[in-house]
């Protein structure tokens, strides 16, 4: 893949035309999906009424558009972008296409905390509702995710953060969390298990502005930060000796990029649960579309947003009035597409 140099007033960048094209095409699809997401639902409305619903507070559609559909659509896109970006960073640092925030302890840690909360509250306080579901679950998820990540980080750190050791430690910690989660699911009431399973699958059901804002803030800070750090990811793909020779302060670069991945995944998981497959598949899809050597960050994020927003559209409307958790659909959509790309690439 050739990179075109772009030089403006003393600044110079290298731009890969194919990567830019993938990103732009992805954004266009995303806009289309958002528009569809706003129009379709229990009541379908024309694009015109969506627009008036957004602009005119007095419009009868204002509530549905601004308080129900827009925040949910935004939450889907932003959460997907955050998960995919997190996955792209993790795969680059670990130099392993199978790596995902799961091995950073984030999603599994969050799952244990939330399942424990649901199971405990289910037995003691009679069901998860009200305060616990709107505030408690995201808080538990955030706490669990960050604790899990801190554990992996601390255990993997030994005079630096070696990508390979990180992966192995991550496997170990994830195994504990996953099995504890399985066990918690067996001790609870079967209704609680069901509720917990919905959350574990990842769901955007009834997500409002309070879920959108934290993810948007996190992306606003972390996207520019990770793009600045992207140069070091290119270097990290080589072995440690090469990296040091290329002058990247390896440990610092790796540690910071992983921290960003952890924060992105934690915030996204807190908002929507550990939506399956996005973090793993979106970077691999983007990599194949853009034909780059490592997952391209921006394109991965856009692909993640498209995958999640598209899946939520299906999850919401396909079996109406029954809504599936979005995480069930991401894999159903993403897996065949990824397989198709592997097939086509003929590597």
């Amino acid at each position: 893949m050739t990179a075109l140099p772009v030089r403006v007033a003393g600044l110079s960048f290298r731009v890969r035309p194919r990567g830019v094209a993938v990103t732009l095409a992805g954004l266009a699809v995303l806009v289309l999906l958002m528009a569809l997401n706003m129009r379709l639902g229990n009541i379908s409305m024309s694009l015109g009424s969506v627009v008036t619903g957004v602009l005119d507070p007095a419009s009868p559609d204002h509530f549905v558009v601004m308080e129900l559909r827009l925040p949910r659509a935004l939450a889907g896109a932003l959460v997907g972008a955050a998960l995919a970006l997190s996955g792209a960073i993790t795969q680059s640092v670990a130099r392993n296409p199978l790596a995902s925030p799961e091995i950073l302890g984030v999603t599994t840690g969050a799952s244990v905390a939330v399942v424990a909360g649901i199971v405990a509250a289910g037995n003691v306080y009679g069901g998860v509702s009200g305060l616990l579901s709107t505030l408690g679950v995201p808080a538990l998820a955030l706490l669990g995710g960050l604790t899990g990540a801190a554990l992996v980080y601390a255990l993997a750190w030994r005079r630096g953060l070696d990508g390979y050791r990180l992966v192995l430690v991550g496997i170990g910690v994830a195994a504990v969390f996953t099995n504890v989660k399985f066990w918690l699911l067996t001790i609870g009431d079967v209704d609680d298990t069901g509720r917990a399973m919905v959350w574990i699958s990842g769901s955007l059901n009834a997500r409002g502005w309070e879920h959108v804002t934290p993810v948007a803030l996190a992306l606003a800070v972390l996207v520019p930060a990770t793009l600045l750090g992207a140069r070091s990811l290119d270097a990290l793909r080589f072995g440690d000796d090469t990296v040091t020779a290329l002058g990247v302060r390896m440990n610092a670069a790796r540690a910071l990029m992983i921290l960003a991945a952890v924060l992105l995944a934690a915030v996204a998981t807190a908002a929507a649960g550990p939506i399956a497959f996005v973090a793993l598949a979106a970077p691999q899809i983007a990599l194949r579309l853009a034909r780059t050597g490592r997952p391209p960050l921006l394109s991965s994020a856009v692909v993640g947003a498209v995958l999640t927003a598209g899946s939520d559209l299906l999850a919401r409307t396909a079996f109406s009035p029954v809504e599936l958790p979005v995480g069930v659909v991401t894999a159903v959509l993403g897996a065949p597409y990824l397989i198709h790309l592997i097939w086509r690439a003929r590597t």
């Binding site: 192995l168 399985f182 029954v322 894999a331 159903v332 993403g334 397989i339 003929r346």
Partner: protein, 352 residues
């Protein structure tokens, strides 16, 4: 130094490896003895021997023969199967993150089982196991077919060498994710399926009975035979595809035999015991520092360590939370993972 002086040293290396194998075998026997004697009703070793050799129908005899022996036998079978399958899988994919589940085996079994509950109202365990096994086989075949796609005339290597590690791993992950999603959808819509599924996925070897042991035995034996046949080829393959071809190894055949072995071994274990992915994932990492990179040694070491670990975890699960029991999958993770992490931290991990 003459050639005659080198040969004894090579033999010495073999002797060391053989004696280590004997140690691991002893550890497994010890674990099996514990598994037969320890539990809610402790049985002295002498009584256990009595029950095994000359049963007279005492309470102890019944506990031992109808509960503990099948449970122990299943633990041994599943442990060996998963340990060997994990080592094969990591060898073929050259990826430390690879576990037998990567072929779609675990999720294939899960999906087949929950579907059969919903569609046929299947309720007995033996029925689940056949279906689980069928699901595991089908998923694995699909993954292998998808992962084998390699470039027809445009391929990098001549004559198509079967799947590359990366495409195999990615295809497996994609198919697993798809099946998991479908399983989730089914259990979210059907409470009875959810109830069976949640106990299955936590992994257990308890209360399966002797029939299940006989049911999975042929698959495990066939899988082990294929694994043994696969070991030399995998050794050649670990030197790179060109060297392996130069040594006269048929790459596509080696990959296919390996996948068949992994499918039989882990399919049988997973269908009978639920997802015990930790064994397949972690045990090879424990075995590799002892055995070195030779798969003819790594596979038996992994099998023995897997079985011993599984039995010990099961025994601990029986005594740790009386009067109840903890599922072996949970205990395995709780005990095995810290040990594993310690090992990873202490020494330089052996890369694949």
């Amino acid at each position: 130094m003459s050639a005659t002086a080198v040969a004894p040293r090579l033999r010495g290396l073999r002797a060391r490896r053989l004696s280590l194998l004997a140690v691991l075998l002893a550890a497994l026997l010890l674990a099996a003895a514990l598994s037969i004697t320890v539990g809610a009703k402790p049985v002295p070793l002498a009584d256990a021997w009595h029950a095994l050799t000359a049963p007279t129908g005492t309470d102890n005899d019944i506990v031992i023969r109808s509960l503990r022996v099948p449970r122990t036998a299943l633990g041994v079978l599943a442990g060996i199967a998963l340990g060997v399958a994990g080592a094969l899988m990591q060898g073929h994919t050259r990826n430390p993150l690879a576990d037998p589940g990567l072929l779609g085996v675990t999720q294939g079994a899960a999906f087949a089982m929950v579907t059969s509950i919903v569609v046929f109202g299947a309720s007995n365990l033996l029925g689940y196991i056949w279906l689980g096994l069928a699901g595991a086989l089908a998923a694995s075949v699909a993954v292998f077919a998808l992962g084998s796609v390699r470039g027809g005339p445009g391929g990098r290597a001549a004559g198509g060498g079967g799947p590359t590690p990366v495409t195999l791993a990615l295809a497996g992950t994609a198919v697993s994710a798809l099946l998991y999603a479908l399983t989730s959808a089914v259990v979210l819509l059907d409470e009875q399926a959810m109830d069976v599924f949640r106990f299955w996925q936590s992994g257990s070897i308890a209360a399966r009975g002797g029939a299940v042991v006989w049911q999975v035995l042929p698959f495990v034996l066939a899988g082990l035979a294929l694994a043994a046949a696969n070991a030399p080829g995998l050794n050649a393959l670990s030197l790179g595809e060109d060297v392996a071809r130069g040594l006269g190894q048929n790459i596509a055949m080696t990959r296919a035999v390996g996948v068949a072995a992994v499918t039989l071994l882990s399919g049988a274990a997973v269908a009978a015991c639920g997802s015990l992915s930790f064994v397949g994932l972690v045990v090879p990492h424990l075995a590799r520092p002892l055995s070195g990179t030779d798969h003819r040694w790594l596979l038996p070491y992994s099998g023995l360590i897997g079985a011993a670990l599984l039995l010990l975890a099961d025994v601990i699960g029986r005594v740790v939370a009386p009067p109840g029991e903890l599922e072996v999958g949970v205990v395995l993770a709780l005990i095995g993972a810290p040990f594993f992490v310690l090992l990873v931290r202490r020494r330089k991990p052996v890369r694949l």
